[in-house]
Subunit: 346 residues, 2 copies
DNA sequence: CCGCTCCACTCAATCCTTTTACTAAATCGG
DNA sequence: CCGATTTAGTAAAAGGATTGAGTGGAGCGG
């Protein structure tokens, strides 16, 4: 019956109801350190007034005064297209939430003018920081405008800059994969790597070689191929490796897709996994790796952790204006053990 | 040398530089309809001042005055976990961007208290609307607090409410899949459906039956099974269907995962796709369907479009406070034709 | 040349919190 | 009992845009 007050209650209304000044309400609500001088009864009256009016602070007004938005911007090239994007976003959002921040996502489609516009857009909203992410790990030259706020680079790095970067520990991932096969007893391990020019491929190769070295196995270049991450290239390279002379007894593939291609090649050759050939993939693309037959042992990219960690550095450590000393933080790529690895034949 | 002005320029500074009042600057910037009375030269001076100072309006201040945030909230249960989440978010963000809005994402993990908290959080930021999404299509009871703003339901519906809903056209999807097989000449079509209780399963079954009816094929309950969307249940049901009496010549599976399971069953039985058995999947989970062998014909869930459309209705049509008349908008699920369908044997 | 309408803007109030500077009353040490 | 602190608050300014109400001058009809 009473006319519904359509607009939300303001702090002044709360103050009036509680019989105090807006200042007091503000102090109580934010429980400001200086508010220890406010008595328990007053505090309660304020709390009660807040509850009964359903008061929530107006974020715009607060932001105007404090110059903070409690919001993080998440700007990426194409990450939102990739199947793992959700995980990264979720990681970043989870940490943000812990710190009472919200996450605003923007994807630029890789268009530099869109990147610029996105940064301007979130800057206009006084975001407290920006996570600038790339779809695959690589070197980037972030737009200058990024320097106008705190920022952390996710899945990319800018040598010579002072941004903090968060990327997967690819070298270690390559080492882990290789070590799993070495531990199973393999000595001739084929490596179907990704495009030789990418960061991931270079690092994984380092990891592969290091694992061999650490185990006293000599490196044979003929066992290493560069594929393009797609299923058919995995198929082709696996076939070539396995039909060559003195074929490998195990394959480490730099993507689950290529590993699936390798699966087909192995089947076609009348061989069986892991009895005749062991396989380790990379990515842990759930659908592919887990539902393969047999379920595939693979190395997982830490998507969620990348997002979570980037948000954490942004809110915790990154000093303003990119003065982060250019540290690169590597996040571990854990192994997911399934059924595609066994001892070598004989 | 000059002390770097660290804080961003304000409208007053622009006004002073251009030799006009802040009002004028405001009118020019927003090119307000009432600003047609502002002369071209003045307009240019303002624009020039804006450029030279690198001025960007303070969003908080504007929001405070206008009671708008130009921000949409995207609240979901677990959607961000699902592999397709990125697409939905991207769709919503793309449309928001077109309308000069930003998208803030929140995922609740399905926890009702978290749902409530999320809504309160974005409400505190005066979002212009909320997209409330579910991971799989189902009926929901949205929290009451959602009524305090405009909202659109994505991938879910609330019967009896007045929210606009945007969901995939599952019945039509089921019909399409079945029709593809009928068109290829099949008359005994096995249907490995999902959990019988879900919206998707019920609707797809309706579509399946309607397609049969439209083509004068009688419905045989023995050909319909309920799986659990996972690979192994597809495997089991396919095996049972194909080894039974008078087996189907084609299988329609309600998920790509089950279809992959069916693939294995078919292989095990020494049959070949599509020569002996045709298969149609559902979801178009890229990795699974496209890299299967042979590549799988499937029905695509319109994730991007769902997000895009939800944002569109939110910004265009949805009147405040859920007064949307409870319309449910169905988004088409297009077929993706690959190589797993052919004519029946003989 | 008077009054009126337009034109091209400007003034000042407003949105809602936070924060600095202050004050009145109570307490305390000596 | 005095002056100094502490307690428990308050008043008012500030933060940066938008907007309703106004203003001074030019142009125009009569």
């Amino acid at each position: 019956m009473a006319a519904e007050k359509t607009s939300r209650p303001t702090m002044a209304q709360v103050a009036k109801l509680a019989g105090v000044s807006p200042t007091t309400v503000s102090l109580v609500i934010n429980d400001d350190p200086r508010a220890k001088s406010i008595s328990e009864p007053t505090r309660d009256r304020v709390a009660e007034a807040v509850r009964s009016l359903g008061y929530r602070p107006n974020h715009a007004a607060r932001g105007l005064r404090t110059q903070k938005s409690e919001t993080l911007g998440f700007i990426t090239d194409e990450i939102a297209t990739a199947p793992f994007a959700g995980d990264t976003i979720r990681g970043a959002q989870d940490y943000s939430w812990k710190r009472n921040h919200l996450l605003t996502v923007l994807n630029t489609g890789g268009d530099p003018s869109m990147e610029e516009a996105s940064i301007e857009m979130v800057l206009g909203r006084q975001v407290d920081g920006i996570i600038f992410g790339a779809m695959y790990t690589r070197e980037v030259a972030p737009p200058r405008s990024l320097e106008r706020t705190r920022a952390v680079l996710l899945n990319c790095y800018a040598p010579g800059s002072t941004y903090i970067s968060v990327i997967p520990a690819e070298k270690e991932g390559g080492r882990t994969a290789t070590q799993i096969l070495l531990d199973a007893g393999h000595r001739r391990i084929g490596f179907i790597n990704g495009l030789g020019t990418t960061y991931a491929a270079k690092e994984r190769l380092k990891g592969y070689r290091q694992a061999l070295r650490d185990n006293g196995v000599s490196y044979e270049p003929r066992l290493v191929r560069n594929g393009n991450y797609h299923s058919d290239s995995g198929h082709r390279h696996a076939r070539e490796l396995l039909t060559g002379e003195n074929p490998p007894t195990a394959l480490f593939c730099s993507s689950d897709r290529m590993a699936v291609g390798a699966y087909y090649a192995i089947m076609e050759l009348g061989l069986s996994i892991p009895r005749d050939v062991s396989v380790v993939g990379y990515d842990n693309q759930l659908e592919l790796a887990a539902y393969a037959s047999p379920p595939m042992t693979t190395i997982q990219l830490p998507h969620y952790e990348l997002g979570y960690t980037a948000a954490r550095y942004l809110l915790e450590d990154a000093p303003s204006n990119g003065q982060g000393g250019g540290t690169v933080h590597e996040i571990e790529c854990p192994a997911v053990i399934r059924d595609s690895v066994g001892p070598p034949p004989n």
